[in-house]
């Protein structure tokens, strides 16, 4: 973050706490600075925001619409609420949707115990999924020499796509199809191991919130992601 000399500070309230924001700062950044936790799965410090997971939705006084905290900019005089009963209910349902969408079986997952989706379920208190599982049959791509992509565990947060495009610059990863059929792909939907553009840098694996992207050879619960590398990379790069 570049700090300018003459920034106009905006004052607003988040959950009743007075906070000051820089020009252009998002509610999510501001909340974090002030120790207010807002759940999110698709936001990732260091890459652009996507606004797709809808977990960080917040209420703003005077507006009927819920907005994603990751993309809402702080404005003077705003009154923001991040934990109203309504929001809590919706978040739990959204998480249910995610859990029912693919085949998330924690007991046999390499990320068991280190998974953002699992932690989110614990945080929001989703002990049961109140919706029927969709049980899609999805492939596992194990063609890459170092990494594996298991579509069964993917939540389509697009962190891998963004880090591949914005940080590594390879643009190997992308998304195909639409609606419930969206899948993460490599190049022209080719086996990962055959990709000529992939640099095998592994950034996508490290930023993946679940066990969808993993290193080869990891057993249940062994895949611990290095979450700190991206902020470091960003900090050390010149603007």
């Amino acid at each position: 973050m570049k700090r300018q000399a003459n920034v106009r500070i905006k004052t607003l309230k988040i959950d009743g706490i007075d906070v000051g924001a820089r020009e252009g700062e998002t509610i999510l950044e501001l909340a974090r600075e002030n120790g207010i936790h807002i759940p999110t799965l698709c936001h990732l410090d260091g890459v652009s925001d996507w606004g797709g997971c809808r977990l960080c939705l917040i209420e703003i006084k005077g507006s009927n619409r819920l907005v994603p905290a990751c993309m809402a900019q702080a404005e003077e005089g705003m009154e923001v609420f991040t934990k109203t009963p309504r929001l809590v209910t919706y978040r739990k349902m959204i998480l249910d949707l995610l859990l029912s969408e693919r085949n998330h079986v924690c007991a046999v997952c390499v990320s068991n115990g280190h998974c953002d989706l699992q932690s989110m379920a614990q945080e929001l208190g989703n002990t049961h999924v109140g919706l029927p599982y969709l049980n899609p049959s999805l492939p596992v791509d194990a063609t890459h020499p170092y990494f594996i992509m298991d579509h069964n565990r993917c939540i389509l947060c697009q962190r891998c796509v963004r880090v591949c495009r914005e940080i590594e610059g390879a643009q190997t990863k992308g998304a195909m199809g639409r609606g419930i059929e969206v899948r993460i792909i490599h190049d022209l939907n080719e086996p990962w191991g055959q990709s000529l553009t992939c640099t095998s840098c592994g950034k996508c694996v490290q930023v993946c919130p679940t066990g969808a992207l993993l290193q080869r050879g990891k057993a249940v619960g062994e895949m611990v992601k290095r979450r700190d590398f991206l902020p470091y990379l960003q900090m050390m790069r010149e603007d």
Partner: protein, 549 residues
């Protein structure tokens, strides 16, 4: 410029009057698919030295009875007499030509003194069925491009916007956002580069108004866009048109070329410093691209996925520049408003919804086709008067408006005047203007399921509620429709409806539950009956499965 237009007009009028009969054959898509091109050829071959001019024109409205042929007979006293033929085949051509100076061919006559024709008030469709859409001269002779010339030579941009604001025109694409306000926002946005986009990605199943306008009177849309560009300070425009409309695309291309040649598009329009160019971009079959930000993504050559607003396209639009997006019908209203004044336009319609609206009537109704009526006309008038009621004396159960974002309005509410607010109150929306009439045989649960299937497959997949929520809702609706539903399913369905509409990213997801909500509101008994019929399986509930943790 006006003088040149006068010349063209005089010449056109003289040409027109020189022939004793003008035979107008509808060559819009509806009639073309029932062989109107062949009818036109046969009629042309039948001219045989008669004082008669055969020309192709845009949509005459009554698509179900096509091909339609209108004949204008010039009487010696200077007045003219009009008759219309329906269901004309190429074989009928000789009989029609023979009858020109005699009595009309009775078996083909289409009565025009009926409410379908009499009750309409045409602004957007005023030239539809009158002029040849492929000749700019005819559009000019019908007062076309005068508004543009007046605007750029005699009015300041803010004066143009003021007329639009006074007219009370609201977005005809569905939302009903005040057009004047949108224009002001773009006009005030800083920066030299701005864009005007015409949304012609008419995706609502059951809506074909925009298609008819583009096929019947493409210049009207170009003129509207050019006026908007002048008012907002834009120099480049895009028309984003559905790839499924090849005829509309072809006519637009022709129209743009003609307008450029006449100096009505391009650099220094009418000798002023104002320049404006229009490009065509083809949609490729994605309903979500009707959403502003998704449409912009598509023009930029990307996947048509929306992004959260704000910032609105008026500030941050195409390539990050201030962008005005209006739909076809909105732009088509503009030239007339500038020509006749905002106050004139505001005198039509209701307190909050001004002007006229084009509706596409379809489904179980006698007169299917296009109509244009003042805002505030009741559904009863539209269905029973103008639409001619249901075939075989059928009983109307409901009218679906607004497509997949709208709802079903039961017959008991038919006296409601049709405007943005009252439709919203009834749980539906104006939408782009599709109206599907349903008779007693239609299952409302099936209708809800049909629209949910639509939303499910048209969801872009970006946000979770729409991507996954629509699938669950569709599955539940299918389950209920197949007689396997439980009361718990309806509860869950209601919860999902609320959640998806509140938490989805864009308009598609936010409005996806509307057809379900409105059928639950008015036809709950149909859901209940299907569930009661589900032979005692009430105990089964959606499986709750434990998350391993």
């Amino acid at each position: 410029m006006h003088e040149r237009f006068d010349e063209i007009t005089q010449k056109e009028l003289a040409d027109n009057r020189a022939a004793q009969h003008v035979v107008k054959v509808c060559v819009a898509a509806g009639c073309l698919s029932s062989q109107s091109a062949e009818v036109k050829t046969a009629l042309e071959q039948g001219v045989n030295g008669r004082s008669c001019k055969v020309k192709g024109v845009g949509c005459l409205g009554l698509c179900s009875e096509g091909p339609l042929v209108a004949i204008e007979k010039h009487l010696p006293d200077g007045s003219s007499q009009n008759i219309m033929y329906q269901n004309v085949t190429p074989e009928d051509a000789p009989a029609i030509m023979e009858s020109l100076d005699k009595e009309p061919v009775a078996r083909l006559l289409c009565p025009t003194d009926v409410p379908f024709f009499q009750r309409q008030q045409k602004i957007v469709l005023e030239n539809s069925g009158e002029i040849d859409p492929e000749r700019i001269e005819e559009y000019i002779a019908a007062d076309g491009y005068r508004a543009l010339i007046t605007a750029v030579t005699e009015m300041a941009p803010f004066e143009v916007i003021e007329q639009i604001t006074r007219s009370g025109l609201r977005g005809r694409g569905g939302g009903g956002y005040p057009t004047g306000l949108k224009w002001v926002t773009v006009a005030k946005a800083p920066g030299p580069d701005k864009f005007v986009i015409c949304n012609a990605d008419e995706g609502d199943p059951g809506a074909f108004m925009d298609r008819a306008v583009l096929e019947s009177d493409p210049h009207r849309v170009l003129e509207g866009m050019a006026i908007a560009a002048y008012a907002t300070g834009a120099n480049e425009g895009y028309i984003y048109v559905r790839g499924e409309y090849p005829l509309a695309i072809a006519r637009l291309k022709t129209a743009i070329r003609q307008a450029q040649r006449m100096g009505l598009l391009g650099s220094n329009i009418a000798g002023t410093t104002f320049s404006f160019n229009i490009n065509i971009r083809l949609g490729a079959g994605a309903f979500v691209c009707g959403e502003e930000t998704a449409l912009i993504a598509s023009i930029e050559g990307r996947r048509g996925q929306p992004r959260p607003r704000p910032p609105y396209p008026a500030e941050y639009g195409l390539w990050g520049k201030p962008t005005l997006i209006n739909n076809v019908e909105t732009f088509a209203n503009v030239p007339t408003i500038i020509r006749k004044g905002g106050d004139w336009y505001a005198s039509i319609g209701t307190a909050k919804s001004k002007g006229t609206k084009v509706f596409a009537l379809a489904g179980s109704i006698v007169n299917t086709g296009l109509i244009e009526v003042p805002m505030g006309t009741s559904l009863r008038d539209i269905v029973y008067e103008i639409g001619g009621g249901l075939p075989n004396g059928g009983v109307c159960k409901a009218v679906q408006t607004g497509g997949p974002s709208g709802g079903c309005i039961p017959a008991s509410y038919f006296d409601t005047p049709v405007d943005y607010e009252s439709l919203k109150e009834l749980g539906s929306i104006m939408g782009s203007g599709g109206m599907i009439v349903m008779d007693e045989s239609a299952s409302m649960v099936d209708v809800a399921r049909f629209f949910m299937e639509f939303c499910m497959t048209e969801s872009c997949g970006k946000c979770v509620p729409c991507r996954v929520g629509t699938v669950h809702m569709y599955n539940i609706l299918s389950k209920i429709y197949q007689g396997e539903g439980t009361p718990r399913d309806v509860e869950l369905l209601e919860k999902l409806c609320d959640m998806v509409s509140v938490t989805s990213l864009c308009g598609l997801g936010q409005s996806a539950p509307n057809p379900v909500v409105s059928t639950l509101r008015y036809f709950r008994h149909e859901y209940d009956e299907l569930i009661a019929g589900a032979n005692g399986s009430q105990t089964a509930v959606a499986p709750t499965t434990e998350v391993a943790s």
